[in-house]
Symmetry: C2
Subunit: 302 residues, 2 copies
């Protein structure tokens, strides 16, 4: 659309460019590609500030979305573009799970499993590798995020470090993957995260499907247990939580578990409860700039 600014994909690129829109001093792009990890066509959005478009290596933030969301929700509603433009940060938003979308070879992936519960099927995933049928064929989002997409981003774009953040189920993903793979990420933050999937009703329903009765896998895939187990990895992590969030009150988020885990792990945690705020994108946009600045500061120190 804007040829003058368009990012040039390498000739060998595995990506298909879906859209380009100029936004502040940079561009919002969408790409799709065939994933080996999920055996589906996956879509992600990426905001590239002008520094990145000019070929300079930039720090990046990988944003993991919550239940029911795809790349659109955060890209349209979270208001990250202005701050990323100002600071020269790349912002990547993958989908939250495999979907029954056609692959580029025109094979319909109608075999991708689903579930009528929004916290289990497509639009969920918890960013783990499922071990039980029928989920294990496609629901390999840990491998997708930390290996396949991670490597692809480094090949296709000039990225010098990646921080991971997420919202709700994606906040659990950010905490889990950030502490399971600390060599891959320079910073971690979360917005209204599920802090312990294995002690949240949403997470228990999903892990029953993905892992069956293997409680060792439940524990290994639980953010708070992982933090407690691996100990301090980052100089600090930033977590914002709306104090008027209904999911906090009903126990889905298990925020005190994260606080206890960080204390045991001696992992410094900046946990802020925001009066009056709920679980919505209106809350996400309110604290987004603080999170981008957190990742920017950590990237400068890395």
């Amino acid at each position: 659309m804007n040829d003058y600014y368009a990012h040039s994909l390498p000739a060998s690129s595995k990506l298909t460019q879906k859209s380009v829109n100029r936004c502040f001093d940079g561009e919002q792009h969408y790409y799709s590609h065939d994933s080996e990890a999920t055996k589906t066509c996956m879509t992600f959005s990426i905001y590239l500030p002008d520094e990145a478009l000019a070929g300079h290596s930039c720090p990046a933030i990988l944003y993991l979305s919550g239940l029911t969301c795809n790349a659109d929700n955060v890209t349209h509603k979270a208001h990250f573009q202005q701050k990323c433009s100002e600071l020269g940060i790349i912002f990547i938003a993958p989908d939250s799970s495999p979907r029954s979308a056609p692959r580029s070879d025109n094979n319909e992936n109608d075999s991708v499993p689903n579930d009528e519960r929004y916290f289990v099927g497509q639009g969920a995933s918890y960013y783990v590798d499922a071990t039980c049928a029928p989920w294990s064929d496609n629901f390999n989002m840990q491998t997708y995020i930390v290996d396949e997409l991670y490597d692809l981003l480094h090949v296709e774009f000039a990225i010098n470090s990646i921080g991971v953040m997420g919202h709700s189920m994606g906040g659990h993903g950010a905490l889990l993957l950030g502490f399971k793979f600390p060599s891959k990420f320079v910073s971690v933050s979360a917005l209204s995260p599920v802090c312990s999937a294995s002690e949240s009703a949403w997470g228990q329903a999903a892990y029953t499907e993905y892992f069956g009765d293997d409680k060792a896998l439940w524990t290994e895939s639980d953010a708070s247990y992982t933090i407690e187990s691996v100990g301090r990895q980052y100089s600090t992590i930033l977590v914002d939580q709306g104090a008027a969030d209904d999911f906090l009150a009903d126990g889905q988020l298990q925020t005190p578990k994260l606080q206890q885990a960080c204390e045991k792990a001696k992992q410094p945690l900046t946990l802020r409860y925001k009066a009056g705020h709920d679980h919505s994108y209106y809350f996400i946009q309110t604290v987004m700039n603080d999170h981008i600045e957190h990742h920017w500061r950590m990237a400068q120190m890395s």
Copy 2:
């Protein structure tokens, strides 16, 4: 949802509150009400900074959306909340036309006319009062905006001045209503506006339906003709236009007509072409803060 912060409607309120979400230092609200002008149930969003929630009178911006949009698009995607929170400005986004929605008295309004052309039927309106059947029963958006909603806002909220802005078709509406009713508004701005509905193919199709052959009505309802006719009304007006906007190239926007009209009217115009930017909300968010600050400055001087 957040009772502590909730705006209290007067006991006599004609509004039904649909949602409340805390956002920055303020709240995003949605309301619906039965409109006499359109004979339909109309919905609008309103952002209330904490000053307004505390009962202090604030300046307001009335935002008129473009073709196909309702109150959601700008409220989700235009990123106005942070700046309005900082400056203490109320931001109101009405729907762009009457819709076939049920009224609160449970009469289905399936009689609201529509058209398969998105630039004519529901989601259009040009913010004029149609004179031809079947449109004239409901498509009275000029009366809705400058009389009914205008008065309702002053009764229900503590507003000390209103500026009008809009995007695309809504930019035409802002220019038209701002110059037709200069005693009602303290400031005018537009994003990627249709500058002359009567010389745009979109507008010609709509005005043929709304006004038939009465070309005097076409002219009275054309933003550029109106500016030329009424002369200077504001110390300046701000218009931003993406230079890579396809609708600019294909003649839908008629931007030079606005420039000529302002020159003839001796109406100071700040018209900025933004390299690389298109017609999307990615452009709107890029220039939104400048527009809010424009209206804030004009409100201080009023």
